[in-house]
Symmetry: C2
Subunit: 188 residues, 2 copies
């Protein structure tokens, strides 16, 4: 197999996700993934560090999009509005590939260790969002609170969207969740 297989990364990712769903994450080997993708193990390791990396490689681009949106949000936006702006940008990225996201979530939901890793990634994202807000001049604790509140709304929106088979726009569900969050904390 040559070094420049067309879309090797995408093929490996899709093959891995299919196998994780069909056989389970633990029962899938990297050799299985490479074979399904028609590539070699060596090619796999050029694109991913390990089996888990296939599931979490999307976290960095997502973080970059969210953080950039918060940083570049209109300066007059209050902290929570800026966080919402960032989370909607992230939601837009997520909803581009609903099938992949749904498969990925099914794999994670079936595996406690992967769930723990996912929670850690989301917690790190809260930290990054808070840092981006802090960069806009928001105090450290208020920034943290706005970021945690935004993540609270996002978690529920994402769960609802997945429960609805990832149909429709996640951005819309996120906006509804933000509005409902405001209603619930004000006691309405």
């Amino acid at each position: 197999m040559g070094r420049w297989e067309p879309n090797a990364r995408g093929r490996l990712g899709r093959a891995a996700m299919e196998l994780y769903v069909e056989r389970g994450f633990d029962q899938t080997t990297i050799a299985d993934i490479a074979e399904r993708a028609g590539l070699t193990k060596r090619t796999f390791f050029r694109h991913y560090a390990d089996k888990r990396d296939v599931l979490f490689a999307g976290a960095d681009p997502l973080r970059d999009v969210v953080v950039r949106a918060i940083t570049e949000a209109p300066p007059e936006l209050a902290p929570f509005a800026a966080v919402s702006f960032g989370i909607e940008a992230g939601a837009e990225l997520i909803q581009e590939r609903p099938d992949d996201v749904r498969m990925r979530q099914a794999v994670i939901d079936a595996h406690p260790e992967l769930q723990e890793r996912e929670l850690a990634k989301l917690a790190a994202l809260v930290g990054d969002m808070a840092a981006a807000l802090h960069g806009r001049g928001v105090g450290a604790w208020p920034a943290r609170l706005a970021a945690e509140a935004g993540m609270a709304a996002f978690r529920v929106a994402f769960a609802r969207w997945i429960a609805a088979s990832a149909e429709g726009k996640l951005t819309q569900t996120v906006r509804e969740s933000m509005t409902e969050l405001t209603a619930t904390v004000t006691g309405e």
Copy 2:
């Protein structure tokens, strides 16, 4: 060593926590813990499943207190107020032993795997709080949202309290955090 050592569980817990802080979690063995407590490994295993269990054994009583408080909160309370009621009950339990809580947090903060486990425990608590709200007649998604929002406020309050060396009342910090959450999501 006899079966009925006085306060064996407490002595083992304290010995473990001291060693985790002094040497690190990975560098501490169960034999070390038993020796420090003046007890046997056998006694350790009568009280804890493993080294990690010492750190997370408090999660179940905490959950029970929080869930009971939500279930028994005045029926006229709106969902978020009921969650706040539960979280304040939990905060009261936590602040009873500030030194233990501070040591425990230092151990967890130094160890990514323990952090992931802690995040999983807190996520499970959100699920339990949502279920308790649902038991009060709140719809499943609004219950989830109120529980996530309460946990968002709690996380920040707890981090602030730990940053202040666990001095003062966590319940007070929690109440402030709840008020600030309301202010931030309404854009104030």
